[in-house]
């Protein structure tokens, strides 16, 4: 996950153009970034991830901050790229419906065929569940859960206050909990 104590040296090496350093940074974050974009229903996720990191590489000399700041920065770029992509497509930011989800699962999923099938099912289930969240709730919850960002990092990435992020995530969980209790998702929720 996080590079921790190694971050500074990795960042320094990345600035010099060391491929190993970029591989470290990319491996550390790309899965989460791609996951976040996918969870938000972004089009062409892999392209967006690549574009995001190319932007990072282009501006890496200008970046100032620690690893937490770096993570927030990367997600800020990814989030904006996603929004631009949505605008380009002339549609609102929204998650996928079931058909789109299946299509994405078929065409964009990485991994072996067996897990593809498993993930595709999970994707549909999850999409069904999170379709009950507002856009803001999805932004926050997906950054926290899929992006693996802290409250502070998610707040920074979205340009919101930490208080707002906390409030939104709290409501998002409340919505999910209610939907699960109502049996609105295939997670077969039965809260007692």
């Amino acid at each position: 996950m996080a590079l921790g104590d190694y971050f500074d040296s990795v960042l320094a090496a990345a600035r010099t153009g060391a491929a190993w350093a970029w591989e470290s940074l990319y491996r550390d974050l790309a899965g989460n970034v791609g996951g976040y974009l996918r969870s938000r229903g972004a089009p062409d996720v892999e392209d967006l991830v690549s574009e995001t990191f190319l932007s990072v590489a282009k501006d890496i000399h200008r970046f100032e901050g620690d690893e937490s700041d770096f993570r927030s920065w990367v997600f800020t770029i990814a989030h904006r790229r996603m929004q631009d992509a949505f605008r380009k497509r002339g549609r609102e930011v929204r998650t996928m419906d079931g058909d789109t989800a299946m299509e994405v699962a078929e065409t964009h999923w990485l991994g072996d065929t067996e897990s593809d099938a498993m993930n595709a099912m999970s994707l549909i289930e999850v999409e069904s569940l999170i379709s009950h969240l507002s856009e803001a709730q999805r932004d926050v919850l997906m950054l926290r859960v899929v992006g693996d960002l802290s409250v502070a990092e998610a707040a920074q990435a979205l340009g919101r206050s930490e208080g707002a992020v906390k409030a939104i995530q709290s409501r998002a969980l409340k919505v999910l909990r209610k939907k699960l209790a109502d049996g609105a998702s295939p997670f077969d929720g039965r809260e007692r």
Binding site: Y26, G34, K58, E64, W73, T76, R80, L129, S161
Partner: protein
């Protein structure tokens, strides 16, 4: 029961992939895990190696100069209006929500009809917003003003149908609500009573549309502090306001690098304001976001957000009020 509040510790546990202490959260925790497992993927090795080489080449060729970059700053687009509405909502939540259920069924001529209409304007009676306004009320009762504002903003974000005229109708409420929110607990009761009186006025007036908004604004002017009611004076007033969480002054300031990337820890005043970044009523949200990464701000000191709070204490209402006048 699903109504029981989830503790902060359990929230953090679930979001971090740990098991919450509350056994009743098992299903929810499983769902959160399911979300994580579904979307987070391993990257293909060949892809990683290929792109890493490309990234290294780009970094090596990248210019060394230029201002610092970092995470995003608070988005300002639409936040003035949204912040105003949020304050109005918060004020209503503090004062009038108790009557919302009854008002929901009020008919023309009823005592509560005006209130009903006012609540409709801000969407309180429209489905989910009501639940959130109940949260706002609860938060205000606990003196969790910033949280209440955040929640209000979130409620506003889900209101797609409000146009600018409707928003302007709320400027009077904004004054009152700001007044309520800016006061400490000692005076808030009085302020809330005054707001209640204003709402009563709203129930009695037969004005509609813009005239309604203007009349409410006029009425509200009697509630706010004299200096805050003076439009010009307020416009020139410095930013010593304490509580107001509106960030109307966080305009699209030059993408300089003064290090105010966003409202971060500790300065919760900025809360509601900075929470207007995206989502929301389609038209607002993301202008700043569309500016891509070039204008992102420095990471490390991104919490200072010096412009975020400032002089909103009557400002926002006054400004928008002035636009609605004449």
């Amino acid at each position: 029961m699903t109504s029981r509040r989830i503790s902060d510790a359990d929230v953090e546990a679930m979001l971090a992939g740990r098991r919450p202490a509350d056994p009743e959260l098992g299903v929810l925790s499983d769902a959160v895990d399911g979300i994580r497992r579904t979307y987070v993927t391993e990257m293909d090795d060949a892809h990683v190696v290929g792109l890493s080489g490309r990234l290294a080449a780009v970094a090596a060729a990248a210019p060394l100069d230029g201002g610092p970059v970092g995470a995003s700053r608070p988005s300002s687009s639409g936040t003035r209006r949204r912040g105003a509405i949020a304050l109005a909502l918060a004020g209503l939540g503090a004062v009038a929500f108790g009557g919302a259920a009854m008002a929901d069924e009020a008919a023309p001529g009823d005592f509560l009809y005006g209130l009903d209409r006012a609540l409709e304007v801000v969407g309180i009676n429209n489905g989910g917003a009501q639940e959130r306004l109940a949260e706002v009320q609860a938060l205000l009762a606990d003196d969790e003003v910033e949280q209440a504002l955040d929640t209000s903003v979130e409620a506003v974000e889900d209101m797609d149908g409000m146009d600018d005229d409707e928003a302007e109708e709320l400027t009077g409420l904004l004054h009152a609500a700001e007044s309520v929110l800016n006061e400490g607990s000692e005076q808030s009761l009085e302020r809330r009573e005054q707001v209640a009186a204003m709402l009563t006025f709203m129930t009695q007036t037969e004005l509609t549309g813009r005239e309604f908004g203007q009349a409410v604004s006029q009425h509200a002017r009697g509630i706010v502090e004299p200096e805050a009611a003076d439009e010009d004076a307020v416009a020139a007033e410095g930013g010593s306001g304490s509580e107001p969480a509106v960030e109307e002054d966080v305009t699209d300031e030059a993408p300089g690098n003064s290090g105010n990337a966003n409202g971060g820890a500790g300065n919760s005043k900025e809360g509601s304001g900075s929470s207007g970044s995206n989502a929301g009523g389609a038209k607002s949200g993301d202008d700043a976001g569309s500016s891509t990464d070039e204008d992102a701000k420095p990471g490390p000191n991104s919490n200072s957000n010096p412009n975020a709070t400032a002089d909103t204490r009557g400002n926002s209402g006054d400004k928008s009020k002035s636009t609605s006048k004449d």
